[in-house]
């Protein structure tokens, strides 16, 4: 709030009404609903609810399918984050170094940001086509016969490749803008002190980029958790069967398709706790980031 503000009484209320009513209706109410129904078991015909305490949660813990998808989500997020950060960092460092064509490279490397995840899934279906997909043909030369939507690990591999393709641009944009905000004086000083580009990268550039990296870590995990839904759904063509799915997909399957409101709500709450933990982690990192600069 500004020191010099206006003293009007009704106007600010009026200005806040749209935002607050939308938030209450479509944020607090559903969040509360999820929390509440996670302790209830709903009658399949919608006739009534029974309070079951933590049973919906223990049911998750005991479900082999849920635990398998939980593990898949963890390592899927990890692999996607690691590779998309690594590739993006390499490309950003190079794009920052070249003198000619820098602008063209930047455009070519970032436009995929705007591609919708289902389109990434659509492309994955083509490049991993069983009969003639270019990547299927490529890997078959090494004796790897990729069969997506039939083999668990092959499907996971296709999902990972599509997610990395989609996520590199975001990381690239942030790394490049992080690199470009390193002051000229620091770069020149480093250039004088250190002939080797390799050690200059690890001793000067990398530590200065570390805060951006921490920040991106959370962004990438959130991406892998939530935004890959459309890509996964397109690859599986609405029919997951035994194939790997993320926890968000599981919420959708159980709650929307399976009508298991209690179980799905408990899953939602688990995800909420996960996101809250990530956010707290991020805030701590942001604090540390202020230390750095």
């Amino acid at each position: 709030m500004k020191r010099a503000g206006f003293d009007n009484r009704w106007l600010p209320m009026l200005l806040l009404v749209p935002q607050l009513s939308i938030i209450c209706l479509f944020f607090y109410w559903p969040a509360w609903q999820a929390l509440r129904s996670s302790f209830y078991l709903e009658d399949p015909f919608g006739l009534g609810q029974t309070f079951v305490g933590l049973k919906n949660y223990t049911r998750l813990w005991d479900s082999a399918q849920y635990m398998r998808n939980a593990w898949f989500t963890v390592w899927f997020s990890g692999v996607v984050t690691l590779f998309s950060l690594g590739i993006a960092l390499l490309l950003a460092v190079k794009a920052d170094t070249v003198l000619r064509g820098a602008k063209t490279y930047r455009t070519l490397l970032m436009w995929v940001y705007a591609v919708a995840p289902p389109v990434a899934g659509f492309i994955a279906l083509i490049v991993f086509n069983q009969r003639w997909g270019p990547l299927t043909e490529f890997f078959s030369q090494f004796g790897w016969d990729i069969r997506i939507r039939l083999d668990y690990h092959d499907t996971a591999f296709a999902m990972i490749v599509a997610s990395i393709w989609k996520q590199v641009p975001v990381n690239f944009i942030f790394f490049l803008s992080g690199l470009q905000s390193i002051p000229r004086a620091v770069r020149e000083a480093a250039l004088i002190d250190n002939r080797s580009g390799f050690s200059r990268f690890w001793t000067v550039t990398f530590p200065l980029l570390a805060p951006t990296g921490f920040f991106l870590l959370v962004i990438n995990i959130t991406y892998a958790l939530f935004e890959t839904f459309g890509m996964i759904d397109t690859i599986l063509r609405n029919n997951p069967g035994d194939m790997p799915v993320t926890l968000v997909y599981q919420v959708y399957l159980d709650g929307f398709r399976g009508q298991d409101i209690g179980g799905s709500s408990a899953q939602s709450v688990v995800l909420m706790v996960l996101v809250l933990a990530l956010t707290i982690f991020q805030f701590r990192m942001v604090e540390r980031r202020i230390h750095y600069t």
């Binding site: 500004k2 010099a4 206006f6 609903q33 940001y113 086509n129 580009g197």
Partner: protein, 299 residues
């Protein structure tokens, strides 16, 4: 990460008119490889749409350019979709536009109003409003998707534009961003405006909004892309085919790929490209604002 340790040693100091730069060659090679990795899939989609479907079915994408492109574009835009015949590519494009623009405009208008109220007024419940609004930054729509659907259903908003767009607006990313920006506007501006006799409405419309032009543009680009690319929520809320967006239609498009006779690769690829063009064009043409908006707003 492994790639970096291998490639980094060849980076040479950035010196003008260096005698011979192997480093520069390697840099360009890496960047070209990266650019190809990014753009090859899109080129492949376009190539496939120039070839007769029967040929694609046999041998897949190639380097050959055929003559079916125009016919496929025509079919994709105006032909009724094979799975029901109720909608066309053009109609889905229009729906995507409504979602993208409606979401971006709605979000920006509501966010600016709320941020203005929080920053420029002495408000009794200011702290409460602030926390109510900014807690929403913590949880994405996906974690409360099923109850959100139930509420939208209860309100009778399924298959309406309101039901599609308004629940997506229920998060405060833009509000937070505008609040940050308004805080950075010098205090003297309000004081001067007040001395000149400007009321709160006049100050907002004539001074603050024009001053936020760049920020509005940056937010608009990011929000348009976000809205256009929505998938899960439209899939749940818009079940009538006349209301399908392009991004949401992708799944139906792939399912039609599996149809009885020859799958229509050409048409479905054109539709996928069509789903990509508007958001990509916005990001590429307004690159400077977009990058600024993205890197500023998320921090």
């Amino acid at each position: 990460m492994a790639d970096i340790t291998q490639a980094a040693p060849v980076t040479r100091p950035k010196i003008h008119r260096a005698p011979f730069r192997w480093g520069a060659v390697v840099n360009h090679a890496v960047l070209i490889a990266g650019a190809l990795f990014m753009i090859a899939p899109l080129l492949m989609l376009v190539q496939m749409s120039t070839i007769p479907d029967a040929e694609i079915l046999r041998s897949g994408p190639s380097l050959e350019i055929g003559d079916r492109f125009g016919a496929n574009v025509d079919k994709a835009l105006f032909g009724s979709m094979s799975y029901s015949g109720e909608t066309t590519g053009l109609n889905m494009f229009r729906n995507s536009m409504i979602l993208g623009l409606g979401f971006a405009v709605g979000k920006i208008v509501i966010a600016m109003m709320a941020a203005y109220a929080i920053v420029y007024f002495r408000l009794r419940f200011a702290t409460l409003a602030f926390w109510l609004i900014f807690t929403t930054l913590l949880l994405p729509l996906e974690v409360r998707i099923v109850p959100s659907y139930e509420i939208t259903q209860k309100l009778g908003l399924l298959n309406t534009w309101t039901g599609l767009i308004v629940p997506l607006i229920a998060s405060a990313t833009a509000t937070f961003f505008f609040r940050q920006f308004f805080m950075s506007v010098p205090e003297e501006l309000v004081e001067a405006a007040k001395i000149d006799g400007a009321g709160p409405v006049k100050f907002f419309v004539d001074i603050l909004v024009p001053l936020s032009r760049t920020m509005i543009a940056a937010m608009f680009i990011i929000m348009f892309v976000y809205g256009w690319n929505q998938y899960l929520w439209p899939t749940m809320v818009s079940t009538e085919e006349g209301k399908f967006t392009l991004v949401q239609g992708i799944k139906q498009i792939t399912q039609s790929l599996e149809g009885g006779h020859i799958p229509e690769f050409g048409r479905s690829n054109i539709l996928a490209v069509l789903a990509v063009i508007p958001p990509v064009a916005v990001v590429v043409f307004f690159q400077r604002w977009f990058v600024k908006g993205l890197t500023d707003s998320d921090k």
